[in-house]
Symmetry: C2
């Protein structure tokens, strides 16, 4: 790209894709993110003040994720069309940087800080501005899976990257700032708090039982059956027994694989079918097909630690608790991290099974 | 109350308050909440399906938190006026219950569950429907503090209660379902995940240094000064070095007290002044005085464990990142618990200091 950022095309079929030069006069991305250690909780918090001015819901004819059309202002993608494209975020929370920061905030040993090294990428699922992931063809979903696998492997090899997280935020209700169907990939310079917690628990389970915690949960869900939504040859989708969100499902591979890059051909093929099916059920959850806001996140094993303790799984959830009503993370959730769910997990599963 | 719930009046001055009988024909509150153990994270999640139908933004002339007026439908408060009133929530996430539940979900040892024993109370700060906490008189704030102290002591003595959390959600943007100025108190049957994490960290710090972690943080903030907003004789308000929210401040007592009930007279008096001051600064944060949505939570030590390891402190934050723009908890925060803050903590402190 004109400012030196990387961009990758992934096509459904190998064709001679027309690619144009990026003619824009773009300043190099300023990246001043730091990570600060929260001594009270033991978690890293990223401070990314430059992101305050990021692009916010531009009109459709200025969409930076549409292909570049003749006669229009160039978008982020210098091609007249594309299938799937991945590029570095212009407003990254994490980036490869040589910026130096003081090792401690205010010189106090209590508060370590570091540059927020890593990478943030944008994944455009289609060139069609008004489409959605659920509306993609199965072969396009396969292409997205290939892009996730490819980028997971590449980002995992970058210096300083400890965990790779492909995810999609969908809907204005959860703060999406661009309408065009897209996801993101965060390559974090630390193991995220959720994953750290999973690894601690899975390690204790392994020590106590010699067994794999996520595998035991999968077996128990399939045996109980009360919360299973889809049961394939390589994957099972279920509502977790202690679901936190008014609509939530996990999609878990039967084989203990650390990340998307490690999935074999048959697993990828079935994933394309089941993930599309699951997103469709989410959209029909409240009766008439609608555009349900959701967050979909691929939990992958960290790059360097605990790879045998945690397993690839998708967490898909919506904060809509009824038509026109959202679940908010208020005092109990945001202040205390104590979750109250107004929906019973078995009821969520029943509705998802019925949302054909 | 007509359905057997408890209600308590707290008055600014001792006067002969007129109290009427509750004449409503109310069914006894149905409470079917359960807690399920999330084996992957080690946290309890509360399932409260009966709360789905709770009262949602009623018109002002049907406000259940206004005093009962002649000729109108009776509200929750059977009195023609009040100063501060506390009563049991009609749609509680936690309540004293004799309901039995199976010890495990689907009979699987992986998924312990228990009745969600505890209590949820509503705290009305004023009978004036259109007021706000920031607009209360200093003597009214004192009365609210007395109510918090009294209820913290009473709830801590109830069977099964492990932690008491007084908090206020303010603003439609964070999902407040009743406009009337009010807060809540949750009496949890477990130590909340945030507090459990603080205690683990503080225990390790104590073992390593023999010192009090929260005290060390307070000392470091006062010494550095860069994030201090208000520095009193008994309390200091500062923006934490690793702040997670676009506007965030902590108000911490200089003395290591476990909860509000343990505050002495001078501490309560200064708290009334400083908390009111802090809320006013929050309201003026974006220039013109406005009704900034916020969450304000009193982190208190658990009732039975770690009381010497964690200290009472207030966490006050807003999810507004700019006028008309909110911070959303999307993929990174909601999926991975990895926080990215678009605002630098020192800038937040500077703005709060200037918002006189």
């Amino acid at each position: 790209m004109a400012d030196g950022r990387e961009l990758f095309y992934f096509d459904d079929a190998t064709v001679g894709r027309e690619v144009l030069p990026d003619t824009r006069d773009l300043p190099v991305v300023e990246h001043g993110s730091t990570m600060r250690f929260d001594v009270l909780t033991g978690e890293w918090v990223t401070i990314a003040a430059h992101r305050m001015d990021r692009t916010f819901l531009p009109p459709a004819d200025h969409c930076p994720l549409c292909p570049t059309q003749p006669g229009r202002e160039p978008s982020e993608i210098p091609a007249p069309d594309y299938d799937v494209v991945v590029f570095e975020n212009r407003f990254p929370s994490f980036a490869q940087t040589t910026t130096q920061v003081e090792p401690n905030v205010d010189g106090m040993a209590l508060w370590p800080q570091r540059p927020a090294t890593g990478r943030c990428e944008v994944v455009c699922f289609t060139s069609d501005h008004s489409s959605s992931f659920a509306a993609l063809t199965e072969s396009r979903v396969r292409t997205v899976i290939e892009a996730w696998a490819d980028r997971t492997a590449a980002l995992s090899a970058m210096p300083g990257v400890e965990q790779v997280f492909p995810f999609e935020n969908r809907g204005k209700e959860i703060g999406v700032t661009l309408d065009h169907p897209h996801g993101q990939i965060y390559a974090y310079p630390f193991v995220t708090p959720r994953t750290a917690s999973l690894i601690t628990r899975a390690g204790a389970h392994r020590q106590r039982t010699g067994r794999d915690l996520m595998g035991d949960v999968l077996d128990a869900e399939r045996k109980a059956g009360t919360r299973v939504v889809l049961d394939g040859e390589h994957w099972t989708a279920f509502v977790p027994a202690a679901a936190r969100w008014p609509v939530e499902a996990h999609l878990v591979p039967h084989r203990a694989v650390p990340d998307i890059a490690a999935l074999h051909e048959e697993e990828r093929a079935e994933l394309a079918v089941l993930y599309r099916d699951l997103l469709g059920r989410l959209n029909r959850y409240f009766g008439e097909p609608g555009d349900l806001p959701y967050i979909s996140g691929w939990h992958q094993a960290p790059v360097h630690t605990g790879r045998d303790l945690t397993r690839l799984h998708l967490q898909l959830f919506s904060l809509r608790r009824a038509p026109g009503k959202l679940k908010y993370l208020a005092g109990s959730e945001s202040g205390m991290a104590a979750w109250v769910n107004d929906a019973a997990p078995e009821t969520i599963a029943e509705r998802l099974r019925g949302a054909v």
